[in-house]
């Protein structure tokens, strides 16, 4: 009797010890993401260090000249390429995706939604290079036509000026990216909109509000934080995309002034030149600096989004 009691206690003690050991190990494992993030930032920073001793951060960020052999590593051209393509993608995708998600959840028949949702999820998984192929086949040939079509009206505005006979342009990159991130944004947005309880909608409709009034005053305020998160998710994908953009954007190191101009995003710069980066002094440091820049922007982006989310969440509580 005494014996079994003892052994029982013994096993129990062992189980608890095992649990405590596991707790320590799992907590350690859980800190891995933080650790990885830190190593990446520090690693890129150390590799960028030689360049920073050579020229100041400001010189690098605002420099227009990229001549590695002359020791000039101005990134402004590439930063402007990345920003303009991403911004254009956002301007195209965000409204279309919001309208589509709202239509599917608030107006369309349930059956239409359940039929379309799996297809959207499938499309969200399609590799970016496939979107690039489509851009090359369809969008690049289409853009010169769009350009000559809008010239009579908008040609005098610099943003729409046509200086580029080919379709390899900021607009092509923006369209491809917009289409690429749409399934992601829609899929998340639909989830967010569906998590708004029907009781809220009914509360508003029962007062004689129209669907749109209900959406505007009840659904959107409530869903806003989630919708912002959805757009931010899409935005980070567009921002860091490499191959799909490279295939259609022209990769000409000029600051784009019109949406029909070619551009040269940071990602394309790194991907095109990493092979030779050990051949010229400081070249590798400059490319790693470009990667660090991408990393830092993504981090700032996420922190910013988190802050916006916290604030928007607080407002949605009201």
């Amino acid at each position: 009797m005494q014996n079994t009691q003892d052994s029982k206690l013994h096993t129990q003690a062992r189980r608890i010890r095992k649990d405590e050991l596991a707790a320590r190990n799992y907590r350690l494992a859980a800190s891995f993401p933080l650790f990885l993030l830190l190593i990446m930032v520090v690693g890129f920073f150390l590799r960028t260090q030689p360049l920073l001793e050579h020229s100041s951060v400001w010189e690098i960020l605002s420099g227009m000249q990229w001549r590695p052999s002359a020791g000039e590593f101005g990134l402004l051209t590439f930063i402007s390429g990345t920003l303009s393509v991403t911004l254009l993608a956002l301007l195209l995708a965000a409204p279309l995706c919001m309208l589509t998600s709202l239509f599917l959840v608030e107006y369309a028949k349930r059956r239409a939604l359940t039929a379309i949702l799996p297809a959207i999820d499938l499309l969200a998984g399609i590799p970016s290079v496939v979107y690039g192929v489509w851009g090359l086949l369809v969008i690049v040939p289409l853009v010169p036509q769009i350009s000559s079509f809008v010239q009579p009206w908008l040609g005098s505005i610099p943003l729409f000026a046509a200086n580029n006979p080919t379709g390899y342009s900021i607009l092509s990159g923006g369209i491809v990216l917009a289409v690429m991130i749409s399934p992601i944004i829609i899929s998340v947005s639909i989830e967010v909109l569906r998590s708004v309880p029907d009781g809220l909608r009914h509360g508003s409709l029962a007062l004689g509000a129209t669907r749109w009034q209900t959406i505007k005053k009840v659904v959107l305020p409530r869903a806003m934080p989630g919708l912002i998160a959805a757009i931010v998710m899409g935005l980070s994908r567009a921002f860091g995309e490499t191959l799909a953009v490279m295939m259609v954007v022209g990769n000409t190191p000029l600051i784009p002034r019109s949406i029909f101009d070619p551009g040269y995003p940071l990602t394309a710069l790194i991907a095109n030149n990493y092979g030779e980066m050990m051949s010229i002094p400081l070249y590798d440091s400059a490319l790693m600096g470009a990667a660090l820049l991408l990393l830092v922007i993504v981090i700032i982006f996420n922190l910013g989004a988190a802050l916006v989310l916290i604030r928007a969440n607080r407002r949605a509580q009201v």
Binding site: H202, L207, G208, P221
Partner: protein, 251 residues
């Protein structure tokens, strides 16, 4: 008794489920009608036909007529939002809108442009008083409505519904998610409201039905088995099923 709502040959189908079968009813103006019957007999379904809430579901079919003061709510040229303005609904569970207490009551008035500025503030106060909530919330009108207790939320929803000046108020077991004291509070409000409004309630609680009803409708398996002045149905039911139900033989 003056009839305000006239229901003729009403049928409702959920896909294949025939939920309401040939309903014919006359509901009196300025009284409280209580619909009772066992679970799944179609009480909520009937109530939703009165403010055309079935429009919101894809697979639900409504045939027949519901007339409010002689106007067929289902006529093609009738505007559904107007129907819902005239016929208010208090849901089973309160769903305060994601805004402040004040804005919740002001919401409908803003949408229908019924009042603004000082007048709006006065009306918000008035309807909060009618719903018996004013004294509890007058100091915190701008705080989120969801911070209220469930009972207070339900009274807020009542104030919100009254603010668009309906003629009929529907309630689908509006007290069933509340504690007994809050429930009693709502009941008292409803009793006072029948001075100015026609009230149609679904209730599961026989005590509540006995207490509130001027007119009683007993439903069973999608049909109206018996309907009439509450006194008469309660004390001398004509139908055996009604009697059995009232004696608590089934729920």
């Amino acid at each position: 008794m003056e009839t305000q709502i006239k229901i003729r040959d009403l049928n409702v189908y959920y896909n294949k489920v025939h939920a309401l079968k040939d309903i014919n009813l006359d509901l009196p103006r300025g009284q409280i009608t209580v619909i009772v019957g066992p679970s799944g007999c179609g009480k909520s379904t009937l109530l939703k036909t009165l403010n055309r809430f079935h429009d919101l579901a894809d697979d639900t079919q409504v045939t027949g007529h519901v007339e409010l003061d002689g106007v067929d709510l289902y006529a093609p040229d009738v505007e559904v939002t107007e129907v819902r303005t005239k016929v208010g609904l208090i849901a089973q569970r309160p769903f305060p809108l994601p805004m402040s207490i004040f804005e919740n009551v002001a919401y409908g008035m803003r949408i229908h442009k019924l009042a603004r500025g000082k007048e709006l503030r006065d009306k918000v106060k008035h309807y909060l008083e009618v719903a018996g909530l004013w004294d509890e919330v007058k100091g915190r009108l701008n705080t989120p409505a969801r911070d209220l207790s469930i009972g207070q939320q339900q009274r807020l929803c009542l104030a919100r519904g009254l603010a668009v000046e309906p003629e009929v108020i529907l309630g689908d077991e509006p007290t069933s998610s509340l504690d007994p004291i809050s429930a009693k509070f709502i009941e008292e409000r409803l009793e006072e409201l029948k001075k100015d409004y026609t009230v149609v309630l679904v209730s599961h609680v026989l005590r509540q039905a006995r207490h509130l009803a001027d007119y009683l409708v007993f439903m069973y398996l999608g049909e109206v088995v018996e309907a009439g002045p509450a006194e008469q149905v309660l004390n001398a039911p004509k139908n055996d099923r009604t009697r059995a139900y009232l004696q608590g033989e089934f729920y």
